[in-house]
């Protein structure tokens, strides 16, 4: 690998142990390196363990076999250096938009004036002005997700872990959010690991796509995406369509396997 890797995932195995029933292997010998400030997509069929891998990097699940290191240090618990954004937003429903964003800043012990200023700047960044004092139950799906993103960005993580963040949104909102995420990323570059099962989304957003196999997940292939421009017009360009095709071919067999596994 050229350049220093920021995140090293080395021969990681993980078994999912449900409270009832037999343990299921989730990840099998996964190895991957992520470079600083790169946008990497984890693409794969449902159940392939891509979210599990994300949670392991985030420190929410213990690494049982193999090793995961971030900037040379092994991952043992969650921390604000690896901010996470969930598919179902995970906003604190009893706090307002502002309250949610302030929470991480409070944990960091910033003085009050600085906290408020920072929170406001992120509210502005995601265009939620006017809704600072609204509760999540009063917001649309897209607004909730923007709050979640602002909340995570506010703690200034080096690494952004995103678990199918737009999966719960309708198609139009999803499309708008993708563009918005890209523009935010271009303004404040961070390392992003973006989990998705949507091939088009992966090709549009990412610089590299790691394709995962069906359960138990392993890295099947890693594909580079190098497009000059990133506006929505790109969806119709020839290179884009070819790339989507290439990735879809990689994913299709795995998707079928996942379907069959579910049916059995």
């Amino acid at each position: 690998m050229d350049g220093q890797a920021q995140i090293v995932i080395d021969k990681v195995n993980h078994t999912y142990r449900p409270p009832r029933g037999r343990p299921v292997p989730a990840l099998a010998n996964v190895s991957l390196e992520v470079r600083p400030r790169e946008f990497l997509a984890l693409l794969g069929p449902s159940g392939c363990g891509k979210s599990t891998l994300l949670y392991l990097v985030g420190g929410f699940l213990p690494t049982e076999r193999g090793r995961i290191e971030v900037e040379g240090k092994p991952v043992i618990k969650p921390g604000p250096d690896r901010g996470i954004v969930f598919q179902h937003f995970a906003l604190f429903p009893w706090k307002t938009v502002r309250g949610n964003i302030l929470y991480g800043l409070e944990r960091q012990g910033l003085p009050r004036a600085e906290r408020e200023a920072r929170a406001q700047s992120f509210i502005d960044l995601v265009n939620l002005n006017g809704f600072e004092d609204s509760y999540p139950s009063q917001l649309s799906g897209g607004m909730k997700q923007r709050t979640a993103i602002a909340r995570t960005l506010a703690i200034d993580p080096n690494i952004l872990l995103m678990d199918e963040p737009f999966g719960a949104l309708d198609a139009q909102t999803r499309s708008l959010m993708q563009t918005e995420l890209l523009s935010i990323w271009q303004r404040t570059p961070k390392t992003v690991i973006f989990v998705t099962h949507d091939v088009q989304e992966a090709v549009y957003l990412a610089e590299r796509v790691a394709v995962m196999s069906a359960r138990p997940g392993r890295i099947k292939a890693i594909v580079d995406i190098k497009f000059g421009r990133r506006d929505p017009g790109i969806f119709r360009s020839k290179e884009f369509v070819e790339k989507v095709d290439e990735l879809w071919n990689l994913v299709r067999d795995e998707a079928l396997k996942a379907q069959e596994a579910k049916a059995s």
Partner: protein
């Protein structure tokens, strides 16, 4: 640059305001209907009592009962009885609330505590715990302590159960987000878990409050002495029919006020919670 969701959000906010107006109208209508029915009931009561079909003993007229209450109030007895019942029931409820939430929280954190108390809660819940009143009287005498104790005994169970259920239902992503932002393990319970579980915990409290009142009144009826229950039972023993009916009215009013107060507190505390409109029957 208006965005799709912003406009949708504004529209939703506007709809919210007009919906609130519609809800207020609906509430006024239902309260109106409620008041109307109560008045109708009172009319029936008065009419039936005077119809001659029942003796004044079996059903004293409403006016007689009202006079009785008035005299009681002027004489001061009403306030003494009311105050004592409320005092004991409320103290018992508060102890049960704090104790129950604490126990529920401890049980959710520590599997040994959970193992020990789980069958006690699960077996004790459907038991008519009032059956233990004679045992409590044996241990603690016939004064306030005994009464408050049986209230605590009875009211704790729904609180513990609700707390356990509420805490168990907190989504792990919520907990993970908090850890992600640097929340310490110790802070989690107070900052995240209990607030997230609060809707269910409050429901448990709303169940526990009427239980506290019921049990307090029963305890007073068994032990006698001052208090709404004691006064009522005394009236019954002396064949004081207006006294008994007065007691029912007083207790009904108190019960109603307490439940409404609790509902108001819930609405205030859970203003952030998206709850469906209440069904027409509480």
């Amino acid at each position: 640059m208006a965005r799709v969701e912003d406009q949708a959000g504004l529209a939703a906010a506007e709809a919210d305001i007009s919906q609130a107006g519609a809800r207020r109208l609906d509430l006024a209508f239902r309260s109106g209907a409620g008041v109307f029915s109560v008045l109708l009931l009172l009319l029936f009561w008065q009419g039936f009592a005077h119809s001659g079909r029942v003796t004044p003993f079996m059903l004293p007229s409403f006016t007689v009962v009202l006079t009785y209450i008035k005299n009681d109030a002027i004489g001061g007895d009403l306030w003494i009885n009311l105050g004592l019942t409320l005092y004991r029931a409320t103290v018992g409820f508060l102890i049960a609330a704090v104790g129950g939430i604490t126990l529920g929280a401890l049980m959710s954190r520590n599997k040994y505590i959970h193992w020990f108390f789980d069958p006690i809660i699960s077996v004790g819940f459907p038991m008519p715990k009032i059956a233990f009143l004679p045992v409590i009287i044996l241990w603690l005498g016939v004064y306030d302590v005994a009464k408050i104790s049986i209230v605590v005994f009875d009211a704790t169970f729904p609180v513990v159960t609700a707390t356990l259920a509420g805490i168990a239902a907190v989504e792990k992503e919520l907990l993970w987000s908090a850890r992600n932002m640097g929340a310490s393990e110790r802070a989690m319970m107070w900052q995240i878990v209990l607030p997230a579980a609060s809707p269910q915990i409050l429901t448990g409290l709303q169940v526990a409050l009427p239980i506290a009142l019921i049990v307090e009144i029963i305890a007073e009826m068994v032990m006698g002495g001052y208090g709404l229950g004691g006064a009522m039972m005394g009236a019954s023993r002396f064949a004081n029919s207006p006294g008994v009916f007065a007691g029912i009215v007083e207790i009904a009013v108190i019960g109603f006020i307490l439940i409404k107060a609790m509902a108001m507190i819930r609405r205030r505390l859970l203003i952030w919670h998206q709850e469906a409109a209440e069904p027409t029957t509480a």
